[in-house]
Symmetry: C2
Subunit: 145 residues, 2 copies
Amino acid sequence: MNRTKEAFKAFVGVKRTNEYLESNVKKDVSRYGLNITEFAVLELLYNKGDQPIQHIKNRILIASSSTTYVVDKLVDKGYVDRRPDTNDRRISYAFLTEKGRELMVEIFPPHAELIKELFEELTDEELAAFRKTLKKISVKRAQTN
Amino acid sequence: MNRTKEAFKAFVGVKRTNEYLESNVKKDVSRYGLNITEFAVLELLYNKGDQPIQHIKNRILIASSSTTYVVDKLVDKGYVDRRPDTNDRRISYAFLTEKGRELMVEIFPPHAELIKELFEELTDEELAAFRKTLKKISVKRAQTN
DNA sequence: TAAAATTATCTCGAAACTGAAATAATTTGG
DNA sequence: CCAAATTATTTCAGTTTCGAGATAATTTTA
């Protein structure tokens, strides 16, 4: 088969795999009244600490206006709050409230377990090679907004 | 590193790679006033012939209500039309109009070329292994709606 | 050091997508 | 053979996401 067709199939494959993974994660997090984007933000704050809004946008790959929207949602739900940066007044940090932290302590471990299971068909070598290839494709990342 | 963390990174990697690929495709098709979903439908009809709405939904992985929405959009733009099935009156086929076909004749080849370039960092072997791994992950596919 | 450029966040209106339920047609099985 | 179940599509209201532009703060540069 020629290279163009192979590439096309790989493109579709990535889309399908992403869809497959996300539909599983979605099912998981919806039990807590969260959607994938909301969970991604909570997960980032939980594992990497307080983050400027800008940083959240870059990490979870959504438009800046969407970032404002998701953080607002999480603030409404009482899981997140905002705190202005003391040096640079343009910057606003998002951080987990006590309620948000308690939620993540409860739901993150089984979530990580689920993700592990989604990849269980792969050998260690396969998983490592897969990650390497993914990186190779998307190194010089595109920037949105 | 432990398996759970590896899996988690692979999960994020798939998401990023998908985002990277889609942002490139988006840039390409937006020049013709199309979004990715619309293009995916046109591409399906162009390469696989007329399709029942149901089939479109399964192929491009969106909710049935979204399928109606996208096809409506393409009908409005004059690229697609609907035709009822003569045997089973529940079924409606979507097909390319002459205008739609002309558009695809023009834009599909450079589009395929773009996709090929997005994977050009990979050797033939790497690309083949990558496709195999993608399939392995998402074999028993989840069904939406 | 003041004007210009850049950076961070938010507002707003519109587009895209979804789930639940409605409608209509077909198939199944008791 | 008909009631119940299934299948295909659409409608509708609501949610999520976006792009363009506004606002405000900081940095650059001439």
